[in-house]
Subunit: 355 residues, 2 copies
Amino acid sequence: MPDYDGAVTEATNSGAVTSPAKRGRGEKSSPTIYDIARLAGVNPSTVSRALSKPGRVSAKTQKIIEDAAEQLNYRVNPFARALPTGRTQTIGLIVADITNPTFFDIIRGAETTGSARDYTLVLAESAESPETELVAARRMLSTVDGLILASPRMDDEKILALAADKPVAVINREIEGVPCVVPDVNKGINQAVRSLASNGHQELAYVAGPPQSWMSSRRWEGVQAACDWYKLGAVRLESSKPTVDGGRQVARDVLASGATAVITYNDLLAIGLMQELQAAGMHVPDQISIVGFDDIFGADFTTPPLTTVRSPLGECGSLAATLLLDMLLGQDGPAEAVRVDTELVVRGSSGRLIA
Amino acid sequence: MPDYDGAVTEATNSGAVTSPAKRGRGEKSSPTIYDIARLAGVNPSTVSRALSKPGRVSAKTQKIIEDAAEQLNYRVNPFARALPTGRTQTIGLIVADITNPTFFDIIRGAETTGSARDYTLVLAESAESPETELVAARRMLSTVDGLILASPRMDDEKILALAADKPVAVINREIEGVPCVVPDVNKGINQAVRSLASNGHQELAYVAGPPQSWMSSRRWEGVQAACDWYKLGAVRLESSKPTVDGGRQVARDVLASGATAVITYNDLLAIGLMQELQAAGMHVPDQISIVGFDDIFGADFTTPPLTTVRSPLGECGSLAATLLLDMLLGQDGPAEAVRVDTELVVRGSSGRLIA
DNA sequence: ACCGATCTGTCAACCGGTTGCCAACTATTG
DNA sequence: CAATAGTTGGCAACCGGTTGACAGATCGGT
């Protein structure tokens, strides 16, 4: 069965190198259902039904219309369809930072899942700013069928307001009444802290992420709880930004804290921190152990390779897209957050403390 | 002056957690120019002109209408606007692989430049397949005002066919009649080969990228020319895919080639190659020097950090977007490809050959 | 005060689909 | 064979802006 939402056929264009055909009136613009109707000898509305409402027209007419459509190489005009229906076959995704590898897998997961169900992904970034994020979200909301917010920085109430308008799914944050996909950090954190404790560490530092980050708070809580259990001291340090550079800047505070093990909000911080500590002559992991979060691209390039708590980010993106698309089909979102597992990936940046 | 293309105002929504308002008829859907017209006591067409054709209506009426629009928190319906005009205020970007860091900066560059001129970026990936790329391009073309192809894999003629339809800009490839942004690899390659020659290398291997990659061929040509000049032997090796994994797989061939210096099509290959060679006991750079391409995120995380020929990818994305947007304003594209400079970034993975 | 030029707002058609409603047609059944 | 139920196709209104054509209003110049 041909797919009128994205048919591909060889255009009989012999490589003219003029400027693109202007959309002027009377130009040879793309065929419409009216063209098909004329060719098939039926009413345009019948064509519309044949192409989008399966079963509404008789098999015979259906066939005639489909043949005519194919002959004309017809493709629906998405705007004409969107105008009366509001449906656009697109979903929006807003990430905090396009160049942060953490989001790569989320983007790909959402894109792949969306494509598989004939939805196009529209991407925007918030540059880690709650305001920019809200602007982007509002602008998007009018053009997409639903929205995925990955690690949103704006307030819960803003998100709820958006969700009241169109379906919204959230990754890396839990909000009552909005479908969420959240890595359950406790398992991974417990593994990490246990591993550090068994390697002789007694004082641990957590380098936090952006203050608006819900996930950063959860991770800190998880670290505190695990440290309590394993009888480690835990101190929280702030970072200026959740990037490699932010990690370098926080190195001073880490040293000053006296901790021998560090868990950072994300891998970028961990990498920057490790670089700076090594530049200052510290030995990782002999003198200080470093554990990151997310297992991003590049985490295993470092020397030593980074120990990290892996979240299945691709799966998060894919799950969020699935949740969203199911909601678009009229299903209710899940009653509570969908949790995915995290796990410790032990590499070389953590290990026995050599006093 | 308020911006009706993306106004943000506090919605007076008190956090109801029901499912999103359905787009049913008669719902409290968003205000239209008809609502404004009624409120302002003018004709809808006047409203339309006031909001989009500066100068066409009197200052007084303009003011009245703008006030009414603001009062109603009006925002244009993009579909209604797109239907008669064809303009959508979006540009499409197709990349070969979303998770390849090479494209991160391109994406961000295009996104930033687009946003600054009130265009939204729509992203798709081709998964390195010419067919998928064409499908994605065709699907996009009907919904965007223009298209950027980053490192396209499809044939020139296909691209020309697309370009005949809507403005297209291309990155990392040169096609007669289509505006292109192309890093001029020769400068960087010359620096690289000279550096390698001066470090005692005599046999060099180039690890090629995907066969459809125009840029891979240019790089190979550049390497050949430079090796000729500096009197080095040059051999070309094929990779299965332009990823870290592909780099690992080609390590065997590199060793078999007897080359003491390797230039790879991109950094991912270089990183994988280096990992595999080191795992096999080789010492980088004492026994073999490795030079990558692009200076992607993470290239400096490796041990030793990667020497690489940097292309200003962010600038490429930004330039391509600028070219495209200028064409949308009616300007002609540049007569020939826009070239940006490349330069060698010397890090630890290349150096003196210790025989 | 008159006249043409310019400005400003209105009318109506249009972009290309979707859909409620109705009439005609087909099939089923008594 | 007629009555009834179920299908199928057509008509026309509608989604929300844009725009060419035009007429009334305004204005400057003489």
